[in-house]
Symmetry: none
Subunit: 124 residues, 4 copies
DNA sequence: GTGGTCTAGACCACT
DNA sequence: GTGGTCTAGACCACA
């Protein structure tokens, strides 16, 4: 692993987003433990307080639970909840912004659709 | 004009983005002067240093030129250059991220396309 | 250290040049931290904003990296890159100007060469 | 003629330097008139006050004289005086700086001498 | 501890 | 009038 952190966002936030991604992608499964704070801290060469902060946010978001003396676990149902929330947010906030930008740049919807379908076929 | 600033980004950055938008939309035309630093400062109730910072960035980006003792001007060709750059960036960086997110959230391309075309019709 | 600033150039620019010199001379080594913004500010009795401006330029120039919450570091390879760039710039831009000036003032090349060799011997 | 002014130096100063150059190169001869303030102002598209300032500096430097109602003239002996002054300044101030920079960049004197002699031959 | 941002007000040079 | 620079001091987020 590299320690490549973007400079325009706090490390703890980037870490937090990464964990969310890993849950969504099913790398971290519901009911299973996530890597320990220290493990992450060593592996990524960051302060353990920073890792703690990221995890704490995820606990507050209702995605992780802390079991004292054992570790942090992905909550049952976390993935489904995440999917619903993120989907709603995407459709309500992110997509309109993207569409606005497309229009501002004078890109035609056809071009976007073309790229989307091509990109979808590559995956096959 | 309002003085409504988002809290998650520095004011000078938001101002900078706003100027870019206004150039893209043709409100600020090539060869013409942009409002003076102090004018903006008064109008938006912010420090002139903050405005200066935003403008300076735009000079560095090659969108504005400073004419000593006169003011700041939109460079000739700025709009075209902006459009080309932003388009390229959008197609190369932003769009793939969006598509990745769409896929991650399990949203179908059909649904996206449906929203896009509906949104396009609203504009008519 | 003195706080002797020339009057014909902004302080932040002089500071910037000084840091470049110190990197070239190997006083600030690659991968190491440079003095903190506030440390410089106190030592030289200047505002921290002024120091920040100088450092920011160096970040933009690709000589320093910011590590969030830790400090600013000299980028790996900065010295070599600097040497190459400055050499190229010197030979392409500055030297021709000097030669033009020498010719304009009607100074013979022999005289220049004489001074150069003398100056070189003094160093021995 | 273009109106290409560098941004890091006042226009009046650049203009002033240009006149000095033209006197040194014998384009403006001793006893002859220099172009009128208005002529310059129109040709270079700058404010006549800016031109005036440049000329005034040259009067203060003892290079030009103003003849009321007629124009500005290059003083007799101006070229010789300029040559002497600039030569002295060059040898005392500028040359040492250049040599220091050469040394800092690790460029050998031989290389400089080579370029000098080559450049001299091109002129033949 | 680190750097980033902002303010309010001052002074400067240039046009 | 224009922008540039600087100060002194404040508050913030990050590690």
């Amino acid at each position: 692993m590299q320690e490549h952190w973007k400079d325009d966002q706090p490390i703890y936030r980037q870490l937090q987003d990464k964990v969310v991604d890993l849950i969504l992608e099913g790398v971290f499964n519901e009911g299973e433990a996530v890597p320990s704070v220290r493990q992450i801290a060593v592996e990524y060469r960051i302060n353990h307080l920073t890792v703690s902060k990221a995890y704490q946010q995820l606990v507050d978001d209702g995605l992780l639970v802390k079991k004292r003396g054992i570790g942090m676990f992905v909550i049952e149902g976390a993935r489904g909840q995440l999917l619903a929330n993120e989907r709603e947010k995407f459709l309500r906030v992110e997509l309109p912004q993207v569409l606005k930008r497309v229009k501002q740049l004078g890109i035609s919807n056809e071009q976007i659709i073309k790229i989307m379908t091509e990109s979808a076929q590559e995956e096959v």
